[in-house]
């Protein structure tokens, strides 16, 4: 008997929790954060981190000057391209 009461109680508890959103009239979807803008921002962060890493590697003596210069220039070029894409998307006045 106790088991039956518990089953019925659990069933109603779970059911009411699940169907509750269906009784709402309007529901606004949260603003999606995984947009192209975020992807570009993430890419920019990754490239900046790589520039920092290359600088550390150079200071540590792991990278020769030739390797460092080439890597840094490539990464800087990549960063400028990403920033240009972000600017195109959000405009020049927005802080990125």
């Amino acid at each position: 008997m106790f088991a039956m009461i518990m089953i019925v109680f659990t069933f109603f508890l779970v059911s009411s929790f699940i169907i509750q959103p269906l009784f709402q009239k309007t529901m606004t979807r949260p603003v999606d954060t995984d947009t192209l803008f975020d992807t570009l921002k993430l890419r920019k962060e990754v490239v900046y981190a790589q520039i920092k890493e290359a600088e550390l590697e150079f200071e540590m003596g792991n990278l020769s000057e030739e390797d460092f210069e080439r890597t840094r220039n490539q990464l800087k070029r990549e960063a400028s391209q990403i920033i240009a894409k972000i600017r195109k998307k959000v405009g020049n006045n927005t802080k990125i």
Binding site: D32, D34, L36, M60, N62, S64
Partner: protein, 656 residues
Amino acid sequence: MPLYGATLLNLSVGLAILALVVLVIYVKKGDYRLFLTGQRAALGVSFLILLASVTLVANLIKGNFDIDFVAQYTSSATPIVYKFAALWAGQSGSLLFWVLILSFYTTLVIFQNRVRHQQLMPYVMITLVAIMLFFLILVNFVSNPFKPVEVDFVIRDGLGLNPLLQNWAMAIHPPILYLGYVGFSVPFAFAVAALISRRLDALWIRTMRRWTLFTWLAMGCGIILGGYWAYNELGWGGYWAWDPVENASFMPWLTATAFIHSINIQKKKNMLRIWNMVLIIATFLLSIFGTFLTRSGVVSSVHSFTQSSIGPMLLGFFLFVLVVCIFLVLYRLKDLRSEIRMRSFLSRESGFLFNNVVFVGLCFAVLWGTLFPIVSEAIQGTQISVGIPFFNQIAIPIGLLLLFLTGVGPLLAWRRTSRESLIRNFSIPFLIGVVTFLVAFVLGIRSIYPLITLSLSFFVLCAIGLEFYRGVRVRIRKLGENVVLALTRIISKNRSRYGGYIVHVGVVLMFIGFAGKAFDVDHEWTMEVGDEVKLAEYTIILTNVREEERPNHHAWIASLLITQNEKTITQLYPEKRIYFHRNPDPNRRQPHSELDIYSTFKEDIYAVFGGFNTQKNLVSLKMMVNRLVRWIWVGGYLLLFGTVIALWPIKMKRGE
């Protein structure tokens, strides 16, 4: 209460189907209320599974022997901690435990992504709930943990837990391993969601890095704990036997290791997108395949207590997922292709890729060796097992190649390494490796594999040591920090990189431990009290044998005095135990050898009380001197420590 538990499991199947239907309708219609309803239904499934699991644990602890599972795996004499651990001791309980962990992960994913990954989340939930539904079908209709006993008399006591499983390492080994096995469902669900929704950018990869690292760590710890348990409990002096069930956990761990390396390339260079997708799918599929191997009994294994009829269903599920994934990857192949190409063979990218190929190659070799009995049975009609020598013959050279790459990777630059950098970075580690080889040779080591292992280990340790030294030196020079502060900061500011190096040091120490196996010695004797024997450089004296009556077993305890050059080293107390000793049926009594170990960094003195002749007072004793084993466990700790560092979140400064 069994009725309550069984009904909860029934309800959870219905709710999982409801969640799937509602979420699929949401994908078609886009009504956000349906998304929330589906999400809540998924949470409801998790809640019901939690309640069912708590109900089963309550019955295990209470000793409700009307439930078949409780009667099979516990008895009144089973200590309470092992009554709890009995949840994963048998098939149906461990399947419920599997789905419990998955429900916990699902809940976590839902809460973590309330406002993130809105395009992916419906598909992520559909995938996770579909996996849950499959396992719920198994626990409901194939192997139900609430099934009542099928006898027409009252059962006063259960059979009790297998004595081998009554060990702290075995009590925590399965849950930790399961955290890994089941955890791969989450990156897999995100991968499937990314494929379906065509959101194949770097965002999901960023989210997945942490999940994969955590599950990889859990699985690695589970595997090491399994080895620790085997070494400390089974009495054969080894920690890895290439048993199919061991291989089942090792294979997904290998592909996951490849994934956590190559994920860095995708994050940094947006390359290897197809490869990463294949790796994460392969890892999940190997987890399911491993479960199939463990549960189906298609290959004979020491873990045979889990054989059952669920094998065909698991195989069917595996094939279904495989077909769906192949279709999805082929369908999105064009989107997955990266425009960026590898620029140089001598770059860190190519080092990562090469390491990936070797990891996957090792995985295939292990898979082939594991499946060989099935293949041979299909062709010749008889099962032929390839055994430990086959695996060692293949895994040792590949393992050494991986060890070499562990050292080479950090020495290579991203994009391209110039000749000048190569010479500068490689010269000292290479020299240390050669010196180690020569020193080991002069010291008398002649076996080729230990020689190579030691020299490669020191090559890698030197390469990693130099990384730390150079990093610290930069901070001291630039910022004037002291050594400790500079070391702490260099690690905390580059957690992923230096955490990874610490993991690599752990792996090197484990390899040193593995190399010790080549120098192990062992012997067996039948002894009387007062007898003295010699093994390696030690003298062993049997000083006493006494008896003890304990709550769930009877024990004979041997006292062994270990001396070296007449100096006492230690005393060991291995035991011969009889579990269920009060059972009137002698066939139900289970003998068990509880070994004793004296462990140092140089070697372990390992004593096994094999048997006791009560009439003649004769003790069967097996002794071993196992070299360098402790380094394996120390390596395991470092693996844990390094991964925790790599996982630790970076506090972002305002505006960062």
